[in-house]
């Protein structure tokens, strides 16, 4: 069936480095992609989103890139901080649907 998955389950970086978290999706009908951050014991928190008619979107210290040709999504975090340590999920949503389909998640650890 359709799925959204992540290439790496864990990522460890040094404080101040840039982080890149990748995600592959298989549903060509997906129109909307979102990155969520989940800290231990909390619900997912919205970070940034991107529509399928875009290939790049920037927020504060974060950038999402979308490559529809290879069905690939990435989240770039600039100057990673210890507070960025969390599990990051990508999620996709079809144009006509309302449910979110989540990937497995990547555990980001930022070392001081």
């Amino acid at each position: 069936g359709e799925s959204v998955g992540l290439h790496l389950p864990t990522l460890s970086v040094q404080e101040g480095d840039n982080s890149i978290i990748n995600c592959a999706y298989s549903n060509s009908a997906s129109d909307y992609f979102i990155w969520y951050k989940q800290e231990s014991g909390k619900g997912p928190q919205f970070i940034i989103d991107i529509r399928s008619n875009m290939d790049k979107r920037q927020g504060q210290r974060v950038t999402v890139l979308l490559n529809k040709t290879v069905k690939h999504l990435s989240l770039q975090i600039a100057a990673t901080q210890p507070g960025d340590s969390a599990v990051y999920f990508c999620a996709e949503q079809e144009t006509s649907g309302s449910r979110l389909t989540f990937g497995e998640g990547t555990q980001l650890t930022v070392n001081p």
Partner: protein
Amino acid sequence: GAGVSQSPSNKVTEKGKDVELRCDPISGHTALYWYRQSLGQGLEFLIYFQGNSAPDKSGLPSDRFSAERTGGSVSTLTIQRTQQEDSAVYLCASSLVRGPLGEQYFGPGTRLTVT
């Protein structure tokens, strides 16, 4: 402002018992979603409510699971005859509008443990 709230935060129950999980969405949000997150896993869609429309129940794993949304606000997820595989964190989310225009805001979840 107030976010999505869920209660209880933790629930331990014996196998075979019924449980009810509650979600209070953000005021004014017309869409409400339930997801399940097993340990170390991603979120799995369960059910979706939008206004007065019939709910999308396509994610419910069995007929032991049901949900209601009363008055277009509070929702209750009920699991009957709980099994150990039902142990997970149950997350509720709400959004202002349905579809790709509606950012989903998540509550803190209810951690359910079936012994």
